[in-house]
């Protein structure tokens, strides 16, 4: 299997040689060649194997993933931003009972836990959201990441309103609805968190009693 | 079978600095394996460092010493060319001795 891919790769490489010699001077800029993208995708499918809950279909990209990969490192055209945000906003489901706020203590546990969906994880255990990996939340936790903005005093700064909570809900449910190609996982859309778990994280962010808002 | 230690001994004037790395699991006896079975404790209990026939450091360790232990200290009276010998013994009564020439 490897051989075919290598041979195909070499052939394509040879054909593309003249072009790449010219391009080589800019090795630091990303190649946008769709042919390379197609070969990279095929190479990945041949280079991964399913393990536990992580099956090979995880390498099949949806439209958002495909577009965000294609435009990575470049400015997204406004039309692509609109398309991604519109399509993702349409996926957001609010709870049927209208209850947006759960238990912040449970939310804090979810924010601390990075368990879930790795092939090394037990699929019968609830997944976490691992918020602290990327965000500052409760100030007591010193070990927080900075890939996303600080969410310290999220509710206090925005007001403990229904509007704030609906925004928090939708953002957790599908971050691509507001920020095309955001680094944040689409926790509701991909079924990473349950409805109750999202409630609890919304509580962590918007309950006046939550340590995040102290 | 235990791997050799990595020992360095360097003399500056009258003082010899000894640094040693040991290859050992230092299993606490508190951890469980993937089947939920407790992994038995397995750790170095005694370390003795000698210069000639003089003990320059004797240690007793519990399982709270980190895996692949590191130890560093200084003693007086060593000279370049002398030998420093280190021996450890673990709770399985396995033991290992290595030596190094003071540089």
């Amino acid at each position: 299997m490897h051989d075919t891919i290598i041979r195909r790769g070499l052939l394509a490489g040879a054909v593309a040689l003249t072009a790449t010699v010219v391009l080589y001077g800019c090795a630091t800029t990303r190649a946008d060649d769709p042919e390379i993208a197609a070969r990279a995708s095929a190479m990945m499918k041949a280079s991964f194997k399913e393990r536990g809950q992580a099956k090979l279909d995880r390498l099949n990209q949806d439209e958002t993933q495909r577009l965000c990969s294609e435009y990575a490192g470049r400015t997204l055209p406004a039309s692509v931003v609109d398309k991604i945000q519109k399509e993702n906003l349409a996926t957001v489901k609010y709870p049927a009972d209208g209850k947006l706020v759960g238990d912040w203590k449970s939310g804090e546990r979810i924010a601390q836990s990075g368990q879930g969906f790795q092939y090394s994880d037990d699929p019968s255990r609830p997944a976490g959201a691992n918020c602290y990996a990327c965000h500052q939340l409760a100030p007591q936790e010193l070990s927080y990441g900075t890939i996303g903005p600080s969410l310290y005093q999220f509710g206090k700064l925005r007001g403990y309103t229904d509007e704030t909570r609906r925004y928090a809900w939708a953002k957790i449910y599908n971050a691509e609805a507001f920020n095309a190609c955001s680094n944040m996982p689409r926790f509701g859309h991909h079924g990473i968190l349950t409805e109750q778990q999202i409630r609890d994280v919304v509580a962590l962010l918007t309950d006046p009693a939550s340590p995040v808002n102290q | 079978m235990a791997d050799p230690m990595k020992i360095r001994a360097n003399a500056t004037g009258d003082s010899t600095e000894v640094k040693v790395l040991m290859s050992h699991e230092m299993e606490t006896g508190q951890r469980k394996d993937s089947q939920g079975k407790t992994i038995p404790a397995w750790f170095i209990q005694n370390v003795t460092v000698t210069h000639g026939d003089k003990v320059v450091l004797a240690a007793q360790w519990g399982p709270a010493i980190a895996k692949n232990p590191f130890l560093s200290f200084k003693f007086k009276g060593g000279a370049k060319g002398d030998k420093v010998k280190i021996t450890w013994t673990d709770n399985h009564n396995d033991t290992r001795t290595d030596e190094v020439v003071i540089a």
Binding site: Q112, S113, G114, Q115, Q118, S120, G128, N130, Y132, A133, L142, S143 | M1, A2, D3, P4, S15, M26, T28, Q30, Q45, N46, T48, T50, D53, K54, V55, V56, L57, A58, A59, Q60, W61, G62, P63, A64, I65, A66, K67, P69, F70, L71, S72, F73, K74, F75, K76, G77, K85, T87, T89, N93, D94, T95, R96, T97
Partner: protein, 158 residues
């Protein structure tokens, strides 16, 4: 790797460390008992008081003459926490490291013979944020100093 030496050691595996050392002529018989000891009861203690009892000492006095060096306030990983301890208490005979919140408090005891500097560094495990206690025995008396080390959760959380 010196496989012959390893072979020799293997064959001596049934002997105690002390007899090995004596046999090899590295220790005078009089020194052997000290080197061989492993104070089981001390390593099983859960509190400073119990550790002191097991080590045969009374209530230790807090001392400013014990210092931590190359010891961070925050450990990026509790599996390996560097600890350096220097005692300037005259006639220091031994230095012990204790971790208050570990399942067993005592991590290590180092006997410091005359001629060896009462200063050493090693690496310990910490299950959680805790006080680390340096316990020094000098001229038959016990002294302590302690330092809190925070243990953080790292990486992707996995």
């Amino acid at each position: 790797m010196d496989s012959r030496r390893r072979q020799a050691l293997k064959s001596g595996g049934g002997l105690t460390l002390a007899t090995l050392l004596v046999a090899a002529g590295w220790l005078k018989p009089g020194d052997a008992a000290a080197a061989d000891a492993w104070n089981k009861s001390a390593f099983e203690t859960k509190s400073l008081d119990d550790t002191m009892k097991a080590l045969g000492g009374g209530t230790p006095a807090t001392s400013k003459d014990i210092a931590f060096f190359s010891t961070p306030d925050i450990a990026e990983n509790g599996a390996v926490v560097p600890i350096g301890i220097t005692s300037s208490v005259p006639k220091t005979e031994s230095i012990a490291i204790l971790v208050e919140k570990n399942p067993n408090m005592l991590a290590a005891v180092f006997d410091i013979p005359a001629g060896t500097e009462p200063s050493l560094s090693t690496r310990i495990k910490m299950g959680q944020t805790s006080n680390v206690v340096a316990l020094v025995k000098a001229d038959g008396k016990y002294y302590v100093a302690s330092k809190e080390i925070k243990v953080t959760l790292g990486g992707c959380g996995g």
